[in-house]
């Protein structure tokens, strides 16, 4: 060890008390799955952490039935304030067990402990705390007086923020009065199952939340189950499309939070060092496994060289390695499959003529790793400027005028996020108006808060998570009568809120199955 080197500072795993096998959490209890169990590994070491059950179609059916019974029997009859109390309990239990959850998340996902400890898990608690308070105030959710819950919500979440995505899904669903069947991603089921233990500690009525594990086919069986009333999915745009197709013709309400190719725009008057920090946060946070990552850097031509020099210098200080080490900035890539995709697209970037540069860092022998990488001389037609890489890879493009920056930023079928770096307030406001993206960060990036709605334009999906609008995604307006007149319109809400032609085709079978 040399002077000013960091000594290893690994977070202790002693507070974990993991089981060797995890079952499905259905109707308040852990039960064995009927599919073939699979192993969940630590992507930093490739060693097995535990065996996870696979839910087959019969298990999915059992989970949906449990959720339906809990909805009809308990949860939909509970007062809003009592639902809120359960959510407050959950928020507190998450806070109490925060460090344990952070360590488990880092172990299972590969992301640095400083992120799970300071971002993921605190936001999980915050999300439950925020929506807990909404449960008895639904009249103010923006869907009119006396809104009602939807029923059983089927929720399928990704592997990049496992427990955080769970919280984004479950908290508003329960606050609004729905019951839940949630499927975590195949490679990151662990913390969802620890969360199930928290639900037991909170004494949440059986069946209100059911957690079923497995691969994509389990998720498919869940969203296609005729007994669910709401489908909420976060993940890739291609799977989102398939889900949108499969719920067509049904009464299932759908929210989709899909991919992105966010533009991070740096103007020549930006505070450069702060912008460089923001660029790093935008693309190297969570190894770039972020749907709203600032994966396209649009930098004004006149400051390009300066920004890139400073960015490279900053990237050299990023520490890649043991995710449990408190000094680690860049953890492991979540899976071999994802690593292969990042490599493939990066190689393609090189072949297409962009200039590749990676920070010089030691890659551990085992596990899945990818050094922080930037591509310069990227043109808008390059695959690395168009496709979501979902890794620590930044594509740098330039612009001369604000109009060019806007045109390039919007030149994507996605529309999830964007960043603007400038010292000029009026310019920020004008640019923000013209960007077609659901979340825009001005002189910051990758900020999240339970009170702030999150979600995309265009092919980044529809519906919002977070805030008042995220609550509305789990509610429907009270049934109206005589609403044709303008007088009734004063309180009117959703078109098609009554049974209409839409309530036909596939849904008759759904209602039967729901019973």
């Amino acid at each position: 060890m040399k002077f000013l080197d960091y000594a290893p500072a690994p977070e202790s795993q002693a507070l974990l008390n993991l089981k060797s096998d995890y079952g499905l959490f259905i109707n308040g209890e852990f039960t064995a799955g009927r599919g073939t169990p699979f192993q969940t590994i630590n992507p930093a070491t490739e060693q097995q952490i535990a065996m996870i059950a696979t839910a087959n179609e019969a298990d999915v059916d059992a989970a949906v039935s449990a959720a339906r019974r809990a909805y009809n029997g308990v949860w939909s009859r509970l007062s809003g304030s009592d639902r809120g109390k359960y959510l407050f309990r959950i928020a507190r239990l998450v806070q109490e067990r925060a460090r344990e959850l952070a360590v488990a998340e880092t172990l299972d996902n590969g992301k640095p402990i400083k992120e799970t400890r300071d971002v993921d898990i605190p936001l999980v608690a915050a999300w439950f705390f925020y929506y807990a308070g909404w449960a008895d105030k639904l009249d103010h959710a923006g869907v009119g007086p006396n809104p009602s819950s939807l029923g059983v919500a089927a929720q399928v979440i990704p592997w990049n923020f496992p427990l955080m995505m769970l919280a984004w899904k479950i908290a508003p669903a329960l606050a609004a009065g729905n019951t839940v069947v949630l499927k975590p991603a195949e490679t990151t089921s662990l913390t969802a199952l620890l969360f199930a233990e928290i639900l037991q500690q909170a004494d949440l009525p059986a069946g209100v939340v059911n957690i079923i594990t497995g691969d994509g086919s389990t998720g498919q069986a869940l969203v296609n189950h005729p007994g669910v009333n709401k489908v909420a999915f976060t993940g890739s745009t291609s799977v989102g499309r398939a889900i949108a197709r499969s719920v067509a013709g049904t009464d299932k309400k759908l929210s989709l939070e899909l991919g992105g190719k966010g533009a991070n725009i740096v103007f020549d008057d930006a505070p450069i060092d702060q912008a460089v920090e923001g660029i790093v946060r935008g693309i190297f946070f969570n190894q770039g496994h972020v749907c709203c990552a600032g994966s396209r850097l649009l930098v004004q031509e006149s400051i390009h060289d300066d920004v890139i020099d400073r960015l490279k210098r900053r990237m050299q200080t990023l520490r890649l390695g043991d995710p449990l080490d408190k000094n680690t900035d860049i953890g492991a890539i979540n899976s071999a499959e994802q690593l292969a995709r990042i490599r493939e697209l990066s190689d393609l970037g090189q072949q297409e003529g962009a200039e590749r540069w990676s920070a010089d860092c030691e890659i551990p022998e085992n596990g899945f790793w990818f050094a922080p990488t930037i591509f310069t001389n990227v043109s808008t037609s390059h695959r690395i400027a168009r496709d979501e890489i979902f890794g620590p890879v930044l594509s740098v493009l330039t612009f001369r005028t604000p109009a060019e920056a806007i045109a390039k930023a919007n030149n994507t079928p996605y529309g999830l996020s964007a960043g603007i770096w400038s010292d000029k307030g009026s310019r920020i406001l004008a640019i923000a108006d013209k960007l077609r993206a659901g979340v825009i960060w001005a002189n910051t990036f990758n900020q999240f808060d339970p009170s702030s709605p999150f979600g995309g334009y265009k092919e980044s999906g529809y519906g919002r998570e977070g805030g008042r609008h995220g609550l509305a995604a789990y509610l429907k307006p009270a049934v109206r009568s005589g609403s044709r007149s303008l007088a009734a319109a004063d309180h009117a809400t959703t078109p098609g809120s009554k049974k209409s032609a839409s309530a036909s085709k596939k849904s008759a079978s759904a209602e039967k199955a729901a019973k």
């Binding site: 001005a442 910051t444 032609a501």
Partner: protein, 287 residues
């Protein structure tokens, strides 16, 4: 001696102009008694695509207009509708077979509904946006914005004018531009509405009206990559599930068919269905 009347040629309304269908096709519009009323243009796939191009080009101007301005332009349409009441009542009587009182009531309601929606233009953002109290030094604001180009299958039942107005007015409020496939059997009031729009202050291309067969045209709009949202309100008799599946390929926002007395009832959420919520985090300085 009776004066010989001059019948009108009913055409499409695309990009602020009144072209015939590029296909050269027309179809007979009949009265409720089966008498010949007019030859309406039978719009084609190409006409629908031209309409989408017109709607896309008109979008920046309409979406970028101030809310006050959009509200006034929409209100102006109601003024012009009022001035043409007799023409609409006449067309509705002959094509829908209702008496003058019923036709008159329909036109009145269509105008009043238009005024109701016009008034929302500078209010829906206030009512449905949000300032969000995030934990940190940020000014965080959520604001709804127009989705983009909205394709609409107009209601196909009776009350052709009211159905059409109920479908297009809410989409226009937020600043979307519209391609609408008119009521197939009763398209006359749609074309006459186009004439109202053409002489109002609505920029060309903001509303594009295609007459013809919804069954033929709707699939092309549902799959069109430059259409952002699809309102199937009048598609109940079509294979709308297929249209919805097709729309999923580009993740269009879709509103489902409605039927019954409450169909297309005036509602704020009909405006919001064609908006996107944008949330901007502004960093506050540390003082």
């Amino acid at each position: 001696m009776n004066r010989l009347a001059i019948p009108k040629t009913y055409k499409l309304y695309i990009g602020g102009k009144f072209p015939r269908s590029e296909s050269g096709r027309v179809y007979e519009v009949l009265s409720h008694k089966g008498d010949f009323l007019a030859n309406a243009a039978k719009g084609s796939r190409k006409d629908a695509r031209d309409a989408v191009v017109a709607a896309r080009s008109a979008l920046p101007g309409w979406a970028g207009a101030t809310a006050y301005n959009r509200g006034q332009v929409l209100y102006r349409i109601a003024e012009l509708l009022e001035g043409r009441r007799v023409q609409f009542i006449d067309e509705i009587e002959s094509s829908e077979g209702v008496n003058a009182a019923a036709a008159s009531a329909q036109v009145d309601e269509a105008i009043d509904r238009w005024v109701w929606y016009a008034g929302w233009a500078d209010k829906y953002v206030q009512v449905t946006g949000n300032a969000n109290p995030v934990s940190g030094p940020f000014f965080n604001l959520s604001v709804p914005e127009p989705t983009g180009v909205v394709a609409i299958i107009a209601p196909q039942g009776r009350e052709s004018l009211l159905g059409l107005v109920s479908a297009i007015a809410p989409a226009l409020v937020a600043g979307n531009t519209v391609v609408v496939v008119a009521n197939e059997n009763a398209p006359l009031s749609a074309i006459s509405l186009g004439e109202v729009l053409a002489t109002s202050d609505v920029p060309g291309g903001v509303v594009n009206i295609v007459t013809g067969s919804p069954a033929e045209i709707a699939p092309w709009l549902a799959s069109h990559a430059d259409v952002n949202a699809l309102d199937l309100i009048g598609a109940g008799d079509l294979d709308w599930v297929e249209l919805q599946i097709s729309a999923a390929d580009t993740l269009k926002r879709v509103l489902l068919p409605e039927a019954g007395a409450d169909a297309a009832a005036p509602a704020l959420n009909r405006i919001l269905a064609f908006t996107e919520l944008k949330t901007v985090w502004h960093t506050k300085a540390v003082l």
